[in-house]
Structure formats: C-alpha cells, structure tokens
Amino acid sequence: MANTFQLVGQLVLIVGSDPDDGVDIVIGSASVPYSIANLAIALSSPNQTVNPNTFVGIQPGAMVPAASTIKYVVNTATLVLTAQGVAAGVYNGVNDLPAGFTPLTVQLNYSGGIQNVDLGFISFFDGTDAGANANCIFTVFFDLMTTMRVLSAGNNSYFTPPASFVDGRYPGASAIDLFNNGYGFEFVDNDFPDENLLSLDYLNITGTYEIVQQQTTIPPITVQNTLPVQAGDPITINDTSGTLEGVSSIILTPATGSPITVPFDSYYIITQIPNQLVFYLPIGFGTYTGPLTITLVGNGIEFSGSVTAGTVTVSFADGSGIYVLQDNQPYDDLYLRTQITTIQELFLQLDEDLSNSFAIKSEENSDFYSQLTYPRAVLAQSEEDELDSFSLIGALSNATLTNTVPIPSPFIKTSFLPPA
C-alpha cells in the first residue's frame, strides 16, 4: 500500500479576476460580506453527508462578485497522511509536513452530490438571463496557473469535470504545483449581478507521496591534518564522493568559546575542488588550545544542510610581537612562543675507573645548555659528591623561537577577458 495523503482543506474566496492580485477571503471570516456566513452554515449543516470540510458552496441568495476565484489553499490546509509506518499523522499546512515530503500523484475526486440536490460539481443559476443570453464563463484551473478547461454555459447549467484525474494529465500541472499554488476555479460573470447561485459540490483531494530522504551522507569526508594546527596553517579536507565544491561555508567550533566562520574568500580558501577543500585556519581563537569541530555547510546544489567533516586540534602558539617588512625576503619569519620546555637528563653514578668519562660528559652537557638560544634556569642540580644512583637536571623556560613560513597565498585574478 502506497503512502497516501488527503487534503482536508480550507477554501479561500479570492475577489478579482486575477488569482494573484485578488483579496484573499478565508471562509469563516465574519468581517467580509458575500456568502461567508452562508458558507459557514453550509459547512455545518446536518444534512451534509460528506465531510463538511470538503464541501464548498455558496448558498442561494449569496452574492458572488462579478469576477471571482475560489481557491483551495493547500499551504494552510490540514493534511492527513497515511503511510506504511512513515510520517503518518495530521499536519497543519505545507510547512508542517515532514522533511522530505514529496507528492507523487494527485487525484481530485468529485464523487457525489449534495443530498436531494442534483447538482454537478459546479453549477450556477442565472436568475434572469437564459439561453443565449447567458454569458458566464468558468475557467477551471488545476493550480490557478494552468488552465484545465474553460466552460461557457448558459443559465442553470452545470459542469462536471471528469470524475477524477491524475497528475500529469494536464501539461504544466503537477502534484507539486498543487501544493505550491492550490487548486481553484475562476468565475467570470459578464452579466453581474444577475447570477445568484454558484455551488460547488464536495471535493476530495487525495494522492500519493513519499518521504524523500535528502539527508545524504557524504562519506567519507576526512580531515587530512593529524598534527595540531595553528592560525594560518592550511587545513585539508578530502572527500571521495566529490561534493566539496558544494561547500559554501565553513564553521569552526571550539570546545569552549564561540564558533568562527571562515571567511569564504580567496584569502582563506586555497583550493576548492570536488574532492578536496583546503583553507587557512583563521585567527580569532585567542589562546585556545583544544579540538576544533569543522562543519561544512552546503550551497543547496551539491548538497544542502551541513555535515561535520571532523576535528582538528588547535595548538595555541603565540606569534604576536613586533615585526618589520623585509624587502626581498620571500618568506615570513614569525615569533613562536612555545609552552614550557623541560629538559631532563639522568645521570648514572659511575665507577671510579670511569670517572674521567663522567667528567667529560658533564662538561659536554654544560656546553649544551649554554648553547641554547633561549633563557633557561636550572631547577635542581646535584653536587658531584651528592650524586645518588640517579640525579635530575631540568631546564624550564618560555622559549621564543622563530618560525619561517611561506607568504600566504599570493595570487591575482584578472578581469573577465572577452573573446578576442
């Protein structure tokens, strides 16, 4: 059994010949003249054997404007979905439908009449004109945009469309059109206000649908960087499914603090091809060190929504300071302040006959520390006569080194060059 839907709807009377510029009047509004009240009565009439919500009509005596449209508005209608375990339920309007709802076919059924009244689906009565004098025109729209059929009839005529028709019979009309634009009739009476009866038999709109799960997984997107990154480092994302050209935004979310959106411009996006996206890690994370979740946002073409590409670890390295532009230097030299550096070395107490070697070793170590380019302090140093089997020498420092990096992405883009 296919998934089916039924529209249990709401009618709108649109005043004006053009469905798009008319004034929408929702049934039940007490502030509008014409037949709204009568319609309400009709809808609640105990004589109605059909679902009152599917019956529409304007009772005798109700005045219908010279040019009107009655429109079945789907986007605010109640929609009843039945399904094989998928999305069954009652929904209030199109916007309330479950994600991925896609109508496949639609049927507009006119399967009966009002009790004791043998009217067709649509009928009208011209109170004074008759025969050749009648001059009323019905235009039946599938979606108020695509003309299905035009009927010009005389007095006391009725028009019955086919008992049912399905999506695709009329070019340009589709089930999706119905949901987007509704269904309705345009009524033009060139002898207005003679006519005083317009009646629509009950209408039942049903169809089939499916839930199209557009939530595609884009595996496997992988972040190539395995080592910690710092501001200005390129981050490479690979994707074997080839959807990375559809990325329109990159959001970087730290474990603490606010997310940062990578400016999607030529300065930050180095490469964007279907299988690879390379961008510079922007500044803005301050002293944060920790994981950074990379979320890719689609442009709605290759994919929509967002997908988590993975995480990288940000390692804060303080490169701030005073710099000077250096002509003819094809790279940037940056300060690189590392975290605390500790140097430890174990000394093994030696036999007497190896004491000379020990002395030499100590001297070498002394030279080693003195040659370090950054400040250091000896935390503990055992005197020779206090040496146990092991002793510890440590150096603690906030080292400032330099880091040579390429100048980020020098490039030009020419103007649009017309054909010669």
Binding site: I322, V324, P330, D332, Y374, S409, P410, K413
Partner: protein, 507 residues
C-alpha cells in the same frame, strides 16, 4: 575551435585591484582579486616582501596592540602597548632598538589603547579604551585615568601636571635690600623636570617695609620630579581692597627668587620693586592639577590638545603654548558641537586645527586669544574618521604636501581643507564598504610613506591594505593590494623613514 586564428589579448598594464560594482566590469588592466602582491615600477608586480622579527631580545614583546613612533633627541624609537592576556593589564614599553627595551614604563589594567605625542624628547601618554553606545563602539579616555608624561629614559611614566605645594611660609624682613613697601601675598610655584609649573601655593600675606624679605618654611614636594621652586608675589595691595581671599590675587614671578632644588626650605634677603614684577603667574591658578585621559591628542601651535575624555566626549583641552601639561580649566577648552559621538581625531594643517568625529569634521583657528574663543567652522557634517584614521606621515604627524590622508566611512580620502572626491579607494569601493565597521572602525590605522609612495592600512579584519601611488596619488592611478599575514596585525608604524613596523596581537 579555431585556435590557430585565436588572437591573444595582451595584458600590458597592471593597475591594481578593482572591486567596484559588477565583477564582470573590471577593466582589463586591473585585477578582480589579488592578495599579497606588491607593485613596483610603472606596471609590474611581485610577491609582497616578507616580514621579519623586529626584536632580537630573548623575550620579545607579545600581544602588541599599538605602536607609535617616538623620536627622541638621539634616535627614532618606538612606544609599544601590550596587553597581558591573563591579568588584562595594559603595559607600555619603550623599544629603543632591536635589543633594548625599557619598561613597562606604564601599567594600567584595562588599557586597550593609548594616544601618544612626543614633545621635546618627552612622551605624553593618554590611556583610552573602547565603550559601546548602541550598536557602535567608540573610544574615549579611561575613567579615573590621566595624562602621563614619560621622560624617555626608561624611568616610569608619571602623571602629568601636579598639585601645588602645601604649607605656610614664614616671612620676615630681610637684611638690607629693597622692596616696594606694602601689603602683599607671597606664594611658591613648583616646577617639575618636564617644565610644568604648579598653581601658586603656600600663599601667605606679609607687609613689606621697604627692605628685602626673607622667606622660610618653604615646603618641599613629595614629587621627586619637582626640581625647581619659584617665589611669586602680588603687587602691593592698596589698603581696603584686600578681601581676605589669598588666592584671588594676581601673582607675578619674583625676579631671581628661584630655588633650584627640592630640598632647600628658605630664601633670604630677596629684593624687588613692584615695577620689576612683570612675569604673570596668575594663569597658573586655573591649571588642571591632573589632566583627564582622552582618546585623542595632537599638537597645535605648540599646544597639546587632549580630547574625548571619559566624561566629556566632545570636549578638547588645550594647553598653554609651550607648556604641554598646563591646561587652563576655564579658558583652555573647546567644545565641539554635541552629536552623541566623541571627538575621534585631531590634526593641525596649514595653521588650522581640525577636529574630527566619526562622521563630522570641524576646524578652529588660533586667534591669539584663549582657545575657548577660537572660531568654529564646520568643514564636513558627514565625513570624519577614527582615532588612528589619519595616516601618519613618517614619524611627524599626518600632513604631507599640504594634505592629509584620512580613512572615512566612504573610503580613504585626501583632505586639503575639504575631502577630495572621488576618494582614493574609489576603485575598491565594494571592498572598503564590505569591511565591518560596526565595532572596528577604531581599529583602522594608517601610515603614509612618501619615500616608498605607499599607504599602509591596518584593516578591521587584521590584515593590511596597501596602496601604491608611484603612478600618481589620485583615485585612478593608485594601485591597491590586500596583504594577509598569518598573524593578527593590530598596528603599523614607520621607523627610520622606510622601515615598516607591524604589531601583531593575540586574537
């Protein structure tokens, strides 16, 4: 496809970035986008120069927020603000060269920026910070903070100006000598090492009998920067006109009654006639004893201007000529018409003082009267700039060839008394107007290197925008190029004519 017959389009000129309107309309001799390129020659370009570290010390300054040139008598040095990310303390250092750093010479918690004016070898420092008004971020002097003066020698900066001495003099007739007989009021004016003279204090009345006078119990100052004290006196006050108010008098410096130290407590046998009392000291009575910090400072006619204080964002204090710490709190004020925005910059050009707000430019001209009497002229009611939005020309202010280069909301414009349009950034109008100025207009800083014929602009995005005007300083011929750096560029300065100094912070 007939490739054989294809005729190439020779690109013979590269006139820089063009980001204005539809990208399809970029002229063929311009770039629709570019980054990190440097123009040279008439129509060539190459990768921008690299940046190198500027300090060789073992612990270079970090988290640099602002750099100013500080020309001293012997060198062109730098004054640098850093912020400790842990404590929030703003620390100002004096970077003498690549290996010598003094400081911090001033530490203030919460200081995120400062104004700086070098004067006679000293440096005047005014700490300021951001404040938010609605959706916009402005700058004004820090609350409960003041103007500081730095001697330039590594000693800590101290609060400018100062209060008068306290105490009462002991006065007696001297031995021999002469004075004009009569009732008068004596007082002491102290002077700091930077030349600031305090209001007359320790006021004491005495009637001279025609002989000299000897003054004792002269107070010393707790301020170690006080180096000199002067004796001041009124003319003989006619009988019946003295109201009993010691300070409501007109004081004059007594010739040769000077104590050139801060320890001596007496001066004996001072002789003078009233006719010799010519050097008026009365104006010192109205001096501010401490000058509130402002976001704006400049020099005009040898006067120091301090504007946009925390409590009076449209007020500018104007010092006495040649006395950058002496601000007359009555006559030394200028009030720019109030519009809810603070004064954001100040600059002298062609003998006229221009004051700026973010979207307003006014001028005042020295009429040889008190600053409060200087006439106001509204130059532009729509265009203004930010605290660092006037391009510094080398290390000497913002005027070059009779014009300033100013960053406004509409773009970067030359200003020669009026804003010249089209603006210099006309070709990159979309780029400029795409910048986020909501809370970052104050982050823009510009320097102008006439020797290199380049403008360097620090953008709110913490990258650089560089304009090369070797082909002409006008909107058609200037060639623009954005420069990006891995670090967050927060400030720029020029040292030694051509050295472009960049400051990077933690962001």
């Amino acid at each position: 496809m007939a490739v054989r017959d294809h005729q190439g389009i020779p690109l013979t000129a590269f006139n820089g970035l063009w980001q204005r309107g539809n990208p399809d309309t970029v002229p063929v001799d311009h770039f629709s986008d570019c980054n990190n390129i440097d123009y040279f020659g008439r129509s060539s370009f190459q990768t921008r120069p690299g940046i190198a570290i500027s300090q060789t010390v073992k612990v270079p300054l970090s988290n640099v927020k602002r750099v100013y040139n500080y020309p001293t008598q012997s060198a062109n040095t730098l004054i640098v603000l850093t912020i400790d990310p842990v404590t929030g303390n703003g620390n100002i250092y004096h970077v003498v060269n690549t290996s010598i750093v003094y400081g911090p010479i001033l530490t203030i918690n919460g200081m995120t920026d400062f104004a700086f004016v070098p004067y006679a070898g000293r440096g005047y420092i005014s700490p300021f910070t951001d404040y938010i008004n609605g959706a916009l971020t402005f700058q004004s002097g820090m609350a409960s903070q003041f103007l500081y003066v730095y001697a330039g020698d590594g000693t800590p900066a101290r609060k400018a100006a100062g209060a008068g001495l306290a105490g009462n003099l002991t006065i007696a007739d001297g031995v021999g000598g002469f004075t004009t007989p009569g009732f008068r009021v004596f007082g002491i004016v102290s002077q700091t090492v930077s030349g600031y003279q305090s209001p007359p204090a320790a006021l004491t009345s005495f009637t001279t009998d025609g002989t000299s006078v000897s003054i004792g119990n002269i107070p010393t100052s707790g301020d170690p920067y006080v180096t000199t004290r002067f004796l001041v006196s009124t003319l003989a006050i006619p009988s019946g006109s003295y109201t009993g108010d010691l300070s409501a008098q007109e004081f004059f410096f007594v010739p040769n009654a000077v104590i050139n130290d801060n320890t001596t407590t007496f001066i004996n046998n001072v002789s003078f006639y009233d006719a010799s009392l010519l050097d008026d000291a009365s104006a010192l009575l109205n001096n501010l004893t401490q000058v509130p910090a402002g976001a704006v400072m400049c020099l005009y006619h040898n006067r120091l201007i301090v504007a946009a204080t925390n409590t009076d964002i449209s007020l500018a204090y104007v010092s006495l000529p040649g006395q950058p710490e002496a601000f007359d709190q009555i006559a030394g004020l200028i009030v720019v018409p109030l519009d809810g925005n603070p004064i954001s910059n100040a600059q002298e050009m062609r003998d006229v003082l221009y004051l700026f707000k973010r979207s307003r430019t006014v001028s005042y001209a020295d009429n040889n009267g008190n600053p409060s009497s200087w006439p106001l002229v509204v130059i532009d009611p729509a265009l203004g700039t930010s605290p660092h939005g006037i391009a510094t020309v080398l290390d000497s202010g913002g005027v070059n060839v009779d014009a300033m280069i100013i960053a406004t909301y509409q773009g970067i414009s030359r200003f020669n008394g009026v804003y010249i349009t089209p603006e210099l950034t006309w070709k990159i109008q979309s780029f400029w107007q795409g910048l986020d100025f909501t809370d970052s207009f104050g982050k823009i800083q510009m320097v102008h290197s006439p020797v290199q014929k380049k403008l360097y602009v620090v953008l709110p995005s913490r990258n650089l925008l560089v304009g090369n005007y070797a082909n002409g300083l006008d909107y058609k011929n200037i060639r623009w190029a954005p420069w990006s750096v891995r670090q967050s560029i927060s400030t720029v300065a020029i040292q030694n004519i051509t050295d472009i100094i960049l400051g990077a912070d933690i962001f």
